[in-house]
């Protein structure tokens, strides 16, 4: 039986990583919750954000925490343009058309990254990356702490935006009743594009934080797309708190599974959890019944 200290250390690491996972999945959940399009290029977009953070660090020694601002702004613009120019015409088409479109976008992104950056793993090396805080027997990895803090702050900002601003309320109205939103004169296509932009900005923040935790290679995307799906399905597709909760659940359960069972089989437990949720609560743990 592992010691309490070991369990505490592993849970803390899983929790902090899970928060960053949650932020990444939040973007996917926001986009699906409003636009009803599943972004199959989600992980690839995060990979691009990670490369953007690496490039800014390489060129200006810009800490990924500061990179968050320019990268998120650019991603917001790109997300808006992608929705307005590419995805909007597909909104009314069958789901398999949307699927093929976004898978094609994802493949293009991976190959463009390969052409630009090559297959080698890249990272940033900031001073605090190998440091940790100590609280009794529990170690708090500094980079993970900062990244988790940023994930919480970004999520709180996003929740506040949707709850308290008129644009946020308009977007929620679109999500709740698309036809009603059109009847009262809301520019639904513009609001969809805004939502995609916000989801992309979320992914950008997650990417800038993720580069503090893992090295980036062009082929990283599909794995994270899958992970984001697992998280939002467990948390509830379209539910923002569900995405964050799902991220934490996956982070902690994988960490504990790695501790109590074989570490090399830890990702298996995320999928086992997914199957259980699909069987017993298909709308997700915090999702609403359709």
């Amino acid at each position: 039986m592992p010691s309490i200290d070991l369990i505490a250390n592993v849970v803390v690491a899983g929790l902090l990583t899970g928060l960053v996972y949650g932020l990444m999945a939040l973007g996917l959940s926001v986009i699906f919750g409003v636009v009803r399009v599943v972004n199959f290029a989600h992980g690839e977009m995060m990979t691009i954000a990670m490369y953007a953070a690496v490039a800014l660090f390489g060129a200006f020694k810009l800490d990924p925490f500061l990179s968050v601002v320019p990268v998120a702004i650019v991603f917001f613009g790109l997300g808006y343009a992608m929705q307005a120019g590419l995805i909007n015409p597909f909104i009314t088409r069958p789901e398999h058309s949307q699927f093929m479109l976004l898978v094609a976008v994802a493949i293009i992104m991976v190959n463009v990254l390969l052409m630009i950056f090559g297959p080698s793993a890249l990272n940033v090396q900031v001073d605090y990356q190998l440091e940790s805080f100590e609280l009794g027997p529990v170690l708090f990895d500094k980079a993970r702490m900062y990244a988790a803090g940023m994930a919480l702050a970004t999520s709180a900002g996003l929740f506040a935006f949707f709850k308290y601003t008129s644009t946020g309320k308009a977007i929620r109205a679109c999500a709740d009743n698309n036809l009603g939103a059109k009847v009262i004169g809301l520019d639904v296509k513009h609001l969809y594009a805004l939502t995609f932009g916000l989801g992309s900005a979320c992914v950008a923040v997650a990417g800038c934080m993720m580069i503090l935790l893992v090295d980036v290679v062009p082929t990283l995307g599909p794995g994270y797309t899958l992970l984001a799906f697992v998280i939002v399905i467990i948390g509830g597709l379209g539910s923002m708190p569900g995405a964050l909760f799902g991220g934490i659940l996956i982070g902690v359960s994988e960490a504990l599974a790695g501790l109590f069972f074989a570490p090399s089989a830890k990702s298996m437990f995320g999928f086992a959890l997914l199957i259980l949720v699909l069987l017993f609560r298909p709308q997700g743990l915090l999702g609403r019944k359709p």
Binding site: P119, T219, L220
Partner: protein, 413 residues
Amino acid sequence: MSQGPGFTRRQFNTALAASGTLAALSPFGIARGQGSKLKVGVLLPRSGFQGFIGQSCQKGADLAPGVIKQLLGVDIELMNADTETNVDTARTRAERLIQEGAHVLVGPFDSGAASAIAQVAEQRGVPFVINIAAAPPITEQGYKFVFRNFPTAIDLTRNGLSLIGDLFRETKVAPRTAVFMHVNDTFGQAMFKGISAMLPGITNLPFKITETISYDPAAKDLTVEVSKAKAANADFLLLVCRLNDAIILRREMVKQRWNPMGIISPGSPGMYEEQFAKVLGKNGDYCISNAPWFNPKMNLTKVVDAAFRKQNPKEQFVFHGTNVAYTFESILIAADAFKRAKSTDPKALADAIRQTNITDRVALGGPIKFNAKGQVEGNLSACVQNLNGRPTVVLPLAAAEAKAVFPMPGYKG
């Protein structure tokens, strides 16, 4: 019909019949057996999580045609293919290289990929010379076209464990416990089995393995694994790794303030690679790899080193030595066989490879001679420690460039 200066119908029919005969015979190697140039299909993981090592091996392949032309007067055409660190891709790329006319295949720095390519090579009857891959079963299948000039996991383990004993004797330190971490892939499993079988029988090794932890070779995060290993409170870490995971693991050890006596690999890549030193800086120092190594004293090593520096003026040979040495030698074996067989006929090439006897080589060890299973015996390892950012031979003493530092500085007991 006019009889102009061009092709007549009779000439056309003759040419058609001739080309048809050539095409019909070519699968049996009758037509292609008369080529003057050896087409070598090079399969390496130039992208994916083994991308760095694949690119490092590729440097050995790239310099081979020039050096071999000088040595043997043989013309070589490389046909490069990226396995993308994926077994299925390795299989399909091997098939495509054969379709495109490769006379011999070399590569692929991975036991899983090597097993897949070996099946293709055997089915298609094309010789396959493995540069780096250690899983023993590859040369235990009775294949007639598969050859390996690299120690098996059993040899690697035996050499590696023996050097650990030498290290402890030399530094007069006797650790009592070790935690064993290994990648969970074909190579890692083979090493795990080898070590588990061999260690209890080796009496001059004073330590016991208190915990064994396997991990995903493509892992992006090894927090849990390192926490678990640290909690085992062992004297040192016995590690079978690749490159990316070795970097992640070492970083995590620093974060978790785990300072064992040492990190010793009994025969895996990763810690002697340039990227390891570059990314980790001082944190990469003092790690030890008992690995197949190049022999700096051989004449051919000097020739290959010179060619390497010419092709890669900004890089140091020492970081690529093993990868370059074994990849170069795999092409040398094929070229030497081609010269003796005077044919690109696959069967003649395979027969000639079986008769190989190359004494002037780059890698440490005896002459390159294949046994009945297609395996070269007698490839040796060196104990290589990272000192000041450079892999440095510390054992065997005859080849040592510096004294071993063990325990690592920072170890508090």
